[in-house]
């Protein structure tokens, strides 16, 4: 975005700061300070009888790195988030293409059908999936008709990943759709008229142009899946813990806030690392194409 006004009067220099002051106050008090406090808390020693102590320690981070339990939880979280991302790419990118080839009004209607569930509470959607995949649910009834025994989906990775894909699909369709809108259909037709096969036209002409959309979609999907709370909480149950549900346990059941804070900080850092390296990758691609 660009500044539309030339800085005319000298008082203009003060004005933007005055205008942003309320927001800055809010974000300083409720975002920057709490994050800093939590980072400090994650280094505070903890005793199960006396609570948080004022000594500094690396014990919580050491526990996360060495304890098998936390390793399992982080590993599970990242592979499930990775799998969710992969499936959302495989479903979301073709779906965005199909949508962009439709004509109105179907195009607008189905775009809404695919994207609007985003606005429905995630608790409602998780609950819907627990009914769909339950032992008496329609999926198991359909399997029974095919002569397949009841399959236990609930509290397995299948249920969690299915619901995550459902929640995340709009975040993939939106950026791919946006980059498809910028794409000139004539270029694809030109490739086809020059005797490129449909497959070649897709992989050599369309795909490179929507790749930035796919990459930015994957980024959002991975980040949100890795930190998702309601879906593993309601569909993963007590045994299939993900990072967010473990943090919740540490805070509200174990009352070990420093350890919970350390896990949350590790999650935040892991998210940032993934995002930054993805950005690097994106920039590298652009540079290659431009240079």
């Amino acid at each position: 975005m660009s500044a539309l006004a030339p800085a005319a009067a000298p008082r203009v220099a003060v004005r933007p700061y005055l205008l942003t002051a309320p927001a800055l106050l809010l974000f300083g008090t409720l975002l920057v300070v709490p994050l800093a406090l939590t980072a400090v808390l994650s280094f505070n020693a903890f005793d199960h009888t006396t609570g948080v102590k004022n000594e500094l320690t690396l014990a919580h981070y050491a526990a996360i790195l060495t304890d098998d339990y936390y390793f399992t939880v982080f590993f599970r979280t990242f592979w499930m988030a990775g799998l969710t991302t992969l499936i959302t790419v495989l479903i979301g990118a073709p779906e965005a293409c199909v949508l962009s080839r439709m004509r109105n009004p179907w195009r607008s209607i189905f775009l809404l059908v695919v994207v609007a569930p985003l606005l429905v509470s995630v608790v409602v959607r998780a609950f819907g999936w627990s009914m769909l995949l339950g032992p008496e649910g329609p999926v198991n009834k359909a399997l029974a008709l095919l002569g397949l025994g009841p399959v236990r989906f609930l509290y397995t990775p299948v249920a969690v990943v299915a619901a995550l894909v459902h929640v995340m699909l709009p975040f993939m369709v939106i950026p791919v759709w946006t980059s498809l809108q910028k794409l000139d259909p004539l270029v694809e037709n030109a490739a086809l008229s020059l005797n490129a096969s449909r497959f070649t036209a897709l992989t050599r002409v369309v795909l490179p142009q929507v790749l930035p959309g796919i990459l930015s979609g994957s980024l959002i999907v991975f980040g949100l899946s890795a930190s998702s709370f309601a879906i593993p909480g309601l569909l993963g149950g007590r045994r299939l813990k993900m990072v967010a549900t473990v943090v919740y346990d540490e805070y509200l059941h174990e009352l070990n806030w420093p350890l919970g804070a350390a896990i949350a900080i590790v999650l935040l850092l892991a998210n940032l690392v993934v995002m930054l390296s993805y950005n690097r990758l994106l920039e590298g691609r652009y540079r290659k194409r431009l240079g």
Partner: protein
């Protein structure tokens, strides 16, 4: 332009079924006359909707959420309008930093925000306070309001403002009579989007609510982890209906496709 082949359309039908299935089943089960979660086979009944009203805690949470979302959306718009004007119209040192800061709640996981705010509230003795809960929600919904305000400010022609100024209107008058009406669709759209997001927020709220301030999504989450009966489906169906109404409003004032998939 290439058309969709039969394979593409079959794939599309599956995706649409996948997206709608959990919402449809929730709305159907809500009308079951039976005692268990099952699709109504013998007839439709409203008994589980009536059951909600004999659970005062759910009704209380609903009002909590409604009040919270209305307050948070209003304050977030009041904060986002000046900030959006500053970011979109002025070039000043730190502008990019401030813009990134104000949008960062979209990137920081809500889990981390919840944990961080719980620590702050515990230290300043604000645990379970409703006003601080409102401010926490303002923080997470301001980016949504800000984006729409900035889009509205960037997209409008300033000649009307300049004409008014050159005709001797005061700056306050110009803001009230010209700027504000012109960015009003962005403001209303931002308010509604902020409202919906605050009303649905679970992950941060679960850390910073107390029994007296529990919001509807938190109450539903707690209830669903312990026991599941068709009342959950009835509440969920009401939530779906409420979201649909909010979406219709959003579509009227701003255009749903513009909000969901950006400007094109």
């Amino acid at each position: 332009m290439t058309r969709n082949g039969p394979v593409a359309l079959a794939f599309h039908a599956l995706v649409v079924a996948f997206m709608l299935a959990p919402l449809v089943i929730v709305c159907l089960v809500a009308f079951t006359p039976g005692d268990t979660l099952s699709l109504p086979t013998t007839g439709f009944s409203l008994r589980w909707f009536r059951a909600i009203f004999v659970h005062p805690d759910f009704v209380q949470s609903f009002w909590n959420s409604l009040r919270l979302a209305a307050l948070a959306a209003t304050i977030s718009v009041a904060v986002a309008v000046p900030a959006g004007l500053a970011v979109a119209r002025h070039d000043f040192p730190g502008r990019d930093f401030l813009n990134a800061l104000f949008l960062s709640p979209l990137i920081v996981p809500h889990l981390v925000l919840g944990v961080a705010l719980l620590r702050l509230f515990a230290l300043i003795g604000a645990t379970g306070s409703f006003p601080w809960l409102v401010l926490a929600h303002v923080l997470v919904v301001t980016p949504y309001a800000l984006r729409l305000v900035i889009a509205a400010v960037v997209g409008f022609d300033r000649s009307a403002e300049q004409a008014a100024l050159s005709l001797g209107a005061s700056e306050a008058t110009v803001f009230r009579r010209i700027t504000l009406p012109m960015i009003l669709p962005g403001i209303t759209g931002g308010w509604l989007l902020a409202f919906i997001n605050s009303f649905d927020e679970l992950t941060m709220s679960i850390f910073v609510t107390s029994p007296a301030t529990v919001t509807l999504p938190v109450r539903m989450y707690m209830y669903a982890t312990e026991s599941i009966d068709p009342m959950m489906a009835a509440i969920s169906a009401l939530m779906v209906a409420l979201t649909a109404v909010a979406m219709l409003l959003l579509d009227r004032v701003y255009g749903l496709d513009k909000i969901l998939v950006g400007h094109n």
